[in-house]
C-alpha cells in the first residue's frame, strides 16, 4: 500500500498577526507548525501502514523552512518526504493544488490523505482540487477509515450525523478531528528522521512554470479586525 500525505506547514495557532509595510501578512519571526489536521492524516497513514505492508510519503508545497514540518512527519514514522518549492509568485488554492497534483502524478499511490482544512488560510479545498486533477474520488471530513483490499470504507461527518461512503482505491481522503489521536515523535524517531530521504524539487522539476500556476483569486487588501465594542 503506497500512501501519500499532503502536508502544509501553517502559522502556530498562538501566532500574533501583523501586517508588513506593504499591507501583507508578516511571516518573519512567526513560529510554524504542522497543520494540526495534517497530524491526523499522517497518523492515519502510519496506522494503515502498520497493519500490513506499506510506505508513507509526505508531500508539501512550500519554502525551505517547510522541511521542519516534513521532518516532524518523518520522526512520527513516515518513510520519505518530497518538498516542492513553488518560488515567490502569488499563489492561491488552484496554484497549490496544481503543483501538488503534478508532483503526485509522477508517483505511485493507493491512498492520498490530507487535512480537511489548514488552520491559517483555511479554505478547505486543496485536497479536493488535487483529487479532481488526478481524476480520483475524494471523501471529505472523515472520522474513520477502513481499508479492505482495493476498497475503502470512510465515515464522514455531515450536519446532524454521519455517512459511511465506499470508494475504490486509489482515492483521496481529508481528515476531521476524531479520526485518531496523533502520536508524538519518539527520541528514536527524531534521530532516524535525520537520515530519511528529503527530495527537494523546484517547479521546473515537476514540469511546471510560473505561468501555469498563476493564481485565480487575488487578494485586494488585508486588515486586522476591529476590536469588538
Amino acid at each position: 500500500m503506497k500512501i501519500l500525505v499532503c502536508l502544509k506547514q501553517t502559522f502556530d495557532t498562538e501566532a500574533k498577526i501583523t501586517l508588513d509595510s506593504n499591507g501583507k501578512i508578516e511571516s518573519k519571526g512567526v513560529s510554524m507548525i504542522m497543520n494540526p489536521y495534517d497530524e491526523f492524516a499522517v497518523e492515519e497513514a502510519l496506522r494503515i501502514k502498520e497493519k500490513g505492508e506499506g510506505e508513507v510519503t509526505v508531500v508539501s508545497v512550500g519554502g525551505q523552512q517547510t522541511q521542519d514540518a516534513l521532518r516532524q512527519a518523518l520522526a512520527m514514522g513516515a518513510d520519505k518526504a518530497v518538498l516542492v518549492d513553488p518560488g515567490a509568485g502569488e499563489m492561491d488554492e488552484y496554484s497549490t493544488a496544481t503543483v501538488l497534483a503534478k508532483a503526485i502524478g509522477g508517483m505511485e499511490y493507493d491512498i492520498i490523505l490530507g487535512g480537511f482544512r489548514a488552520v491559517d488560510d483555511g479554505s478547505a479545498q486543496v485536497v479536493g482540487r488535487v483529487a479532481e486533477l488526478l481524476n480520483i474520488p475524494v471523501v471529505n471530513v472523515i472520522t474513520k477509515l477502513e481499508i479492505e483490499g482495493g476498497n475503502a470504507l470512510a465515515t464522514r461527518e455531515v450536519e446532524g450525523g454521519s455517512e459511511v461512503i465506499e470508494v475504490a482505491l486509489p482515492a483521496a481522503f481529508t481528515a476531521q478531528k476524531g479520526l485518531n489521536e496523533p502520536r508524538y515523535p519518539s527520541m528514536k524517531g527524531i534521530m532516524k528522521a535525520k537520515k530519511k530521504p528529503m527530495d527537494k524539487k523546484t517547479l521546473a522539476d515537476v514540469g511546471l512554470d510560473e505561468s501555469q500556476i498563476a493564481a485565480k483569486v487575488k487578494a485586494l487588501s488585508f486588515s486586522l479586525p476591529e476590536a469588538r465594542q
Binding site: Q125, E132, N140, I165, A215, K218, L220, P225
Partner: protein, 324 residues
C-alpha cells in the same frame, strides 16, 4: 460573456437550507447592482415542489436538475450535475452556503471549471464592477478582501447567518434541465442520523456552549435545558471535548466548527484564541465565567461574573417566563 449570479439552493431531505435563502436575498442586491439576473440551482430527486419556497426569495430563474441518482448528496453526482449546468449557461458567479455540502461541492466544481473559490466568507460587495468577498483568515486574526478578476464563474461559499433571509416574492421562471449524474464513485453505504431536536451547530441562531468550567459531562444537562428553552444548539470548548464530556462534533474553534450565530452564550469558557477563532463572528456574545479576568470578557457584549451553576439555572427559569 458570462452573465448571471447563481445561488446553489441546497436541499436535504426535501428541505431547502436557510443559508440558501440568505444568499438569494443578498444575491438579489448584487445582481441588481451588476445588472445581471439572479438564478437558483436546485439539484435532487423529486425536488420541483421546492421551487415555490425558493421563489419567495427573489430569483429570476430556477434551474432544476431532477434525477433519481441525485436523491442523496454525493460528491461526484452533484459535481457532475452542477459543473455541466455551469458549462452550459456560463454564469458569472456561483455562490454556495459554507455547509458540509457547500464546501465539498464547491472545491470540486471550482477545480473542474479551473476557477477561483473563496470559502467561508463573511461579506460580499460590488466594487469596481466586480464581486469582492470578505474572509476572516488566520483564526479570525486577519481579514482579507479578495476577488476573482478573470476566471469565471467567480465562486464563493458564505458562512450561514452572514446575511438576513428577506422574502421578496417574484414569479421565477422554472427551467428543468435534463442532466445525468454521471459516474458516481462514492457509494453511500449508510446514513446515520443523530436524533436531536436541537438545530445543527453551524446553522443555529443561538448556541449555548460549555467549557472546562462545566466540571463534568452530567452538567451539560444544565446547558441543554437552557438551549431547549430558546431553541438553541449546544456547543463546547476543546477542553470539554478532550475531557470526553461531549463528542468532538460539538467543538467550536480553530480545530472545530466555525459558527456565526445571532447569540452565543459561553459558559465556563476562558476564551482562548483558538476558541474565539470559531465564534467571534457571532452577532452577540454573552459570557458566564467566575473569573472576571477571563479573556472571554474581552469579546463579550454582555458578561456575567459568577458561578455558572447558579447563573445558568436562573437564566433558564427567567427565559422560560419570557418565552411563555
Amino acid at each position: 460573456m458570462a452573465k448571471g449570479i447563481w445561488v446553489f439552493a441546497e436541499q436535504r431531505e426535501g428541505q431547502v437550507k436557510k443559508v440558501s435563502f440568505e444568499l438569494l436575498s443578498e444575491g438579489r442586491k448584487v445582481a441588481d447592482q451588476l445588472g445581471e439576473e439572479l438564478c437558483a440551482v436546485l439539484v435532487g430527486k423529486n425536488v420541483s415542489g421546492l421551487t415555490e419556497a425558493i421563489s419567495a426569495y427573489g430569483p429570476d430563474k430556477i434551474y432544476v436538475v431532477d434525477n433519481d441518482a441525485l436523491e442523496n448528496y454525493t460528491t461526484d453526482g452533484y459535481t457532475n450535475a452542477v459543473s455541466d449546468l455551469v458549462k452550459k449557461y456560463e454564469p458569472s458567479a456561483l455562490l454556495l452556503g459554507c455547509t458540509v455540502t457547500g464546501r465539498d461541492l464547491s472545491a470540486q466544481v471550482a477545480q473542474r471549471l479551473e476557477t477561483g473559490l473563496m470559502t467561508d466568507c463573511t461579506g460580499m460587495e460590488v466594487a469596481d464592477g466586480q464581486l469582492v468577498f470578505t474572509r476572516p483568515i488566520y483564526a479570525g486574526k486577519t481579514i482579507v478582501k479578495a476577488a476573482c478578476p478573470e476566471a469565471r464563474p467567480t465562486m464563493a461559499t458564505i458562512r450561514p447567518n452572514t446575511f438576513a433571509a428577506v422574502e421578496n416574492a417574484k414569479q421565477a421562471e422554472v427551467i428543468s434541465v435534463e442532466s445525468g449524474a454521471g459516474d458516481i464513485r462514492q457509494v453511500i453505504k449508510d446514513i446515520i442520523r443523530q436524533v436531536s431536536e436541537r438545530p445543527e451547530l453551524t446553522e443555529a441562531d443561538i448556541i449555548v456552549s460549555g467549557g472546562r468550567g462545566m466540571k463534568g459531562p452530567e452538567n451539560f444537562k444544565l446547558l441543554e435545558d437552557l438551549a431547549d428553552v430558546v431553541g438553541a444548539a449546544v456547543g463546547a470548548s476543546r477542553a470539554a471535548v478532550d475531557a470526553g464530556w461531549v463528542s468532538h462534533s460539538f467543538q467550536v474553534g480553530q480545530t472545530g466548527k466555525t459558527v456565526s450565530p445571532v447569540l452565543y452564550i459561553a459558559c465556563g469558557i476562558s476564551g482562548a484564541i483558538q476558541h474565539l477563532a470559531g465564534m467571534s463572528s457571532a452577532k452577540c456574545i454573552v459570557a458566564i465565567n467566575k473569573d472576571e479576568e477571563a479573556n472571554i470578557f474581552k469579546v463579550a457584549d454582555y458578561g456575567i461574573v459568577g458561578d455558572l451553576f447558579e447563573v445558568v439555572p436562573i437564566l433558564t427559569e427567567e427565559l422560560k417566563k419570557v418565552m411563555a
